[in-house]
């Protein structure tokens, strides 16, 4: 049986010695977060805000430990200033894995509205980013994006599409 996307993520992170995983959680990320906590190779922990996680991963990399930040779309929307002035300006490979909320069946209007800011922000920052939609492309995109970030000392974002993860959809309007 095929490995699920989150198991592939765990395997690729391990193969690339990405050890430190600060995160702000999301429902879609639950199986990945659980797997990271179960595996003593990883040091996964929550932070109060995504900006904090960017600082932690930047500091750790400069001191010899690789890391990756987990977040959802709305969390990414809080990051433009720190991404521009820390990993982009200092050339630090801060890696981000973002569960894509706000599209393909989103029920939360706030998520749908903030979703529209993500790609324009990544493009304005000229930051490498890839959207993963298919299980068969998962390992290649994860692995090559992480390798390139480390080799070029530049930050990068991996966006987990609902096409890959199933997203968090509801089928009808919830009325109280």
């Amino acid at each position: 049986m095929d490995r699920p996307w989150w198991r592939i993520a765990v395997d690729v992170l391990k193969a690339n010695e990405v050890h430190l995983i600060p995160y702000v959680p999301d429902n879609v990320l639950k199986p990945l977060i659980a797997a990271l906590h179960e595996d003593p190779f990883f040091h996964a922990f929550t932070v109060a805000r995504e900006e904090e996680a960017v600082g932690i991963v930047a500091g750790a990399w400069m001191a010899g430990t690789k890391g990756l930040v987990l977040m959802q779309t709305s969390g990414f929307a809080t990051l433009a200033n720190v991404l521009a002035s820390l990993p982009c300006a200092f050339q630090i490979p801060v890696l981000m894995m973002i569960s894509e909320r706000g599209t393909m069946g989103e029920f939360n209007l706030g998520q749908a509205a903030v979703w529209r800011t993500m790609r324009p922000t990544l493009e304005a920052l000229a930051m490498e980013h890839h959207v993963v939609t298919r299980l068969d492309e998962c390992e290649f995109i994860f692995d090559r994006t992480i390798r390139q970030a480390h080799l070029t000392q530049m930050p990068a974002a991996i966006i987990l599409s609902p096409l890959l993860t199933g997203g968090k959809a509801v089928t009808r309007q919830v009325v109280a």
Partner: protein, 201 residues
């Protein structure tokens, strides 16, 4: 209620010199945005210094990352009061993770000095009480220069995480840090032993 402490208002550059003079084991120092890192720079560049130029509020998270990566090296985060206000949640994160090698130095002048001295919205806040409320029990105001040096020594000799808060006077920084982020990052990585290069550094 105005914050209950009787700390003397001290000169930031003098305190930076006193801190740097105590560092004998290649301790890392992360200087927060603006005048905080300007005076760290002015106290004499060390390869183990990182000068943040932007990303206001991230001195403590960056220092936490360094501390987690190198648990045998002492790491100081030097952060202004206005900057810390932007990222107060990081104090809770530090308390939860409990890195023994991390010390946070809060430089509290009560104003945004670099933008013209406007008051911060924390006129009635006590940063030591905030840190303690987040779970950082080793947090104290430094009463004067002698007490500051004693507390720095305590940070170097005992397990943390520690917080030292100081009240500052209104003197401006001595000089400005050279703004060349990749160079700063490269020097710091060499200072951390995380990078080897044949290029002269």
């Amino acid at each position: 209620m105005i914050a209950a402490h009787n700390a003397k208002r001290m000169y930031r550059f003098d305190l930076m010199q006193r801190l740097v003079a105590r560092l004998e084991h290649e301790e890392a120092v992360i200087g927060g945005i603006g005048n905080t890192n300007f005076d760290l720079w002015s106290a004499g560049h060390r390869p183990q210094n990182f000068y943040m130029l932007g990303s206001m509020g991230l001195a403590v998270p960056i220092a936490l990352g360094v501390a987690l990566a190198q648990p045998n090296r002492k790491v100081f985060a030097v952060e202004g009061d206005g900057s810390l206000l932007m990222q107060l949640g990081c104090l809770a994160t530090v308390a939860t993770l409990g890195p023994k090698n991390l010390a946070i130095l809060v430089m509290d002048n009560g104003v945004y000095q670099i933008t013209g001295g406007q008051q911060t919205p924390a006129a009635r806040a006590d940063f030591v009480a905030i840190a303690q409320g987040c779970g950082l029990s080793h947090a104290a105001w430094a009463a004067d220069e002698t007490d500051f040096e004693r507390q720095v020594g305590h940070c170097l000799e005992t397990d943390g995480p520690h917080v030292i808060a100081v009240k500052l006077d209104d003197q401006p920084p001595v000089s400005q840090t050279e703004r060349d982020p990749p160079q700063i990052r490269d020097r710091f990585m060499r200072g951390m032993g995380a990078k080897r290069s044949k290029l002269p550094g």
